[in-house]
């Protein structure tokens, strides 16, 4: 247990083993009979020491998410028509509506899921990327835990997309009030999906690679 902090760290990559992303089988490449395995013999997933191009891909996705984030928050997500007057609502004005009507619990849930989580996720992933690129040694276990939480919580931002869907389905034409979906919801859904993929392409093992003494980090 004590030796894990020092040099004698046995990682799969250092031992020449590929840790299959699909089924966690440890595969030696080349195998005993000299074959260069490209896919996992058990589940068929393509073998890599690290997720391919993790840093570049995650950056690209994060930049895309940041661009979409602007229209997602500025454009209306719902357009309510009541007796001929229309009222567009953005994500933030939706939160304010719940606050004004006294539903503090719901206001808090939407605020956290639609505003806090996406921003926090972008900040955390950018922070992790920068720390990995600077080969930071700072609190690797905590950074890994931060990554794990980010990956777990990110899906909940889909909440607002579902709320819009249900509202649109329930309040239809033929009533005094109609709710239509605004174009903001398209951008918002894109932000959620892109940041989810960004979290999946980031490889937390890069955090630990920086801790190893010699700089020969495993390729791909």
């Amino acid at each position: 247990m004590a030796m894990i902090r020092g040099h004698a760290v046995h990682t799969a990559a250092r031992s020449g083993l590929f840790n299959c992303h699909g089924c966690r089988l440890l595969v030696r490449r080349p195998s005993a009979d000299g074959q260069m395995l490209v896919r996992c013999p058990r589940c068929g997933t393509r073998l890599h020491l690290r997720k391919p191009n993790s840093i570049a891909r995650t950056w690209a996705l994060l930049i895309a998410a940041m661009i979409f984030y602007i229209p997602a928050n500025l454009l209306p997500v719902t357009i309510t028509t009541y007796l001929g007057s229309t009222q567009p609502d953005t994500i933030m004005s939706g939160v304010i509506f719940f606050m004004q009507t006294g539903s503090w619990g719901i206001a808090l849930i939407i605020f956290v899921a639609s505003i806090v989580v996406p921003i926090a996720k972008l900040i955390v992933l950018i922070g992790l990327l920068v720390s990995v690129q600077r080969r930071s040694h700072w609190r690797p276990a905590e950074r890994t835990r931060l990554y794990r939480i980010t990956e777990l919580v990110g899906r909940w931002s889909m909440l607002d997309v579902f709320v819009v869907t249900v509202l649109v389905a329930l309040v239809r034409l033929g009533y005094l009030t109609t709710i239509e979906a605004g174009s903001g919801v398209v951008y918002f859904a894109a932000v959620v999906v892109i940041t989810m993929i960004a979290a999946m392409t980031f490889d937390p093992r890069l955090i630990w690679d920086a801790l190893e003494k010699n700089d020969e980090s495993p390729a791909h």
């Binding site: 589940c43 997309v161 005094l176």
Partner: protein, 201 residues
Amino acid sequence: MTQTLIACHECDLIHRVQPLPENSKARCRRCGALLYAHFPNTIEWSLDLAITGLVLRVIANIYPFLSLESQGTVLETTIITGTIILSEQSMAGVAILVLLTSMLIPCILLGALVYVLWPMKLGHRLPANRRAFRLALTLRPWSMTEIFLLGILVSVVKLAKLATIIPGTALFSFLGLVLVLASINTFLAPQTIWEKMDEWR
């Protein structure tokens, strides 16, 4: 063949696979990520849950989800209505996303699990069962029934002053489905199932 070594998928540290007490999970000693779990009945439990989930899914599709009562008329909404209306409002992309995450992906996930686990329980296997199991594992984060349920709750609160909302049969079976999927996430021990597949080679 039992796997003797396992590497943490978050920090790559190699661990020796040790027998665990029943119904417990092993975590990485360096970063705390989940390594493997030992549920002796993982195949039976996951299979039963997956079949239950599929049945609940069918019920949730047939019956109305929510009914809106306003000005003396009742409007019934099924789970697909929302996506149809979204696609009519030229939001086809969002409609497809909602359809996938709240309906199709949970269905495919449960179907794939039944496809792998039922024959496994009976002691044989079907073609491409490894691919099916990998698919089920990959789809897990994209199955968002629990978030959809919260979305329904939020919408109901928002509309509470506008109209009377009557929960339908489908809403309750959907709640059941959410619980089933959460239990599968807890009790499914992928490592055990992969090793079971290895025994056939």
